[in-house]
Assembly symmetry: C2
Homo-oligomer: 138 residues x 2
């Protein structure tokens, strides 16, 4: 593998139109695009009023969210926190989470989500657990 | 440690004023701010004409850069690539690298750099090697 790879995903205000996996538009995982082995990254543009398609946790991976624009909420276990431009959030493993863009958000909720564990992504494999429980904002 | 932590670092167009470590203004490492254990992240606003203070590589950590605005270059070993809004770059371990914001960039070169290895950040420790060799744009 080369010592680097480069792609272009367009500006932040176009991320809502990215075609992602699992029919989740507005979410693109960069590790497939770039071939990264340890760093998992998704870029996200969630339309006002939109939510994650389900709750999820990671058994081994830690996540760090960087919110670049818009207004919304994160559910983290039993807690709901407000997130907006400039919010940065670390989520520990084994924490059920979901993201919501407020219906009156002035723009898409734009964020980068990066995740990693103390092993390569390949060794960790799919450590996600999902549920379709109701969200606290619905 | 709590299952999450949250801080606010302000909008992307203010990142040039963030006070970082080692006298590197315009670069803030979030792992200290948030207490992340596996995900290393810096947010960066590099003024037009500015460069990394030195070349660096990581012996064990992989890095993924997400460019959010501005125009510049990355040096990756012997190669120099152009980077601009939307560029995403994966850099393998043991690759000497440096970043430059073009003097005529319309804004600061704004980017997120995330890094991780197949071990916790604490176990990896400081795996950086730096040099003050001349840059290819100087």
């Amino acid at each position: 593998m080369s010592h680097y790879s480069i792609e272009n995903i367009g500006p932040v205000d176009s991320w809502h139109a990215l075609e992602g996996q699992h029919g989740m538009n507005g979410k693109l995982f960069l590790e497939g695009l770039l071939g990264s082995e340890n760093v998992g990254v998704s870029v996200n543009g969630l339309a006002p009023g939109g939510s994650s398609p389900f709750w999820h946790l990671h058994a081994q991976l830690e996540e760090v969210y960087i919110f670049l624009g818009g207004e919304g909420k994160m559910a983290l276990g039993d807690e709901v926190i407000d997130v907006t431009t400039g919010s940065v959030v670390r989520v520990a493993p084994n924490t059920m989470m979901a993201v919501h863009a407020n219906a009156d958000s002035p723009t898409d909720l734009r964020f980068v989500c990066t995740r990693a564990g103390a092993a390569s992504l390949r060794d960790v494999g799919d450590d996600a657990e999902i549920t379709h429980d109701p969200f606290p904002w619905s």
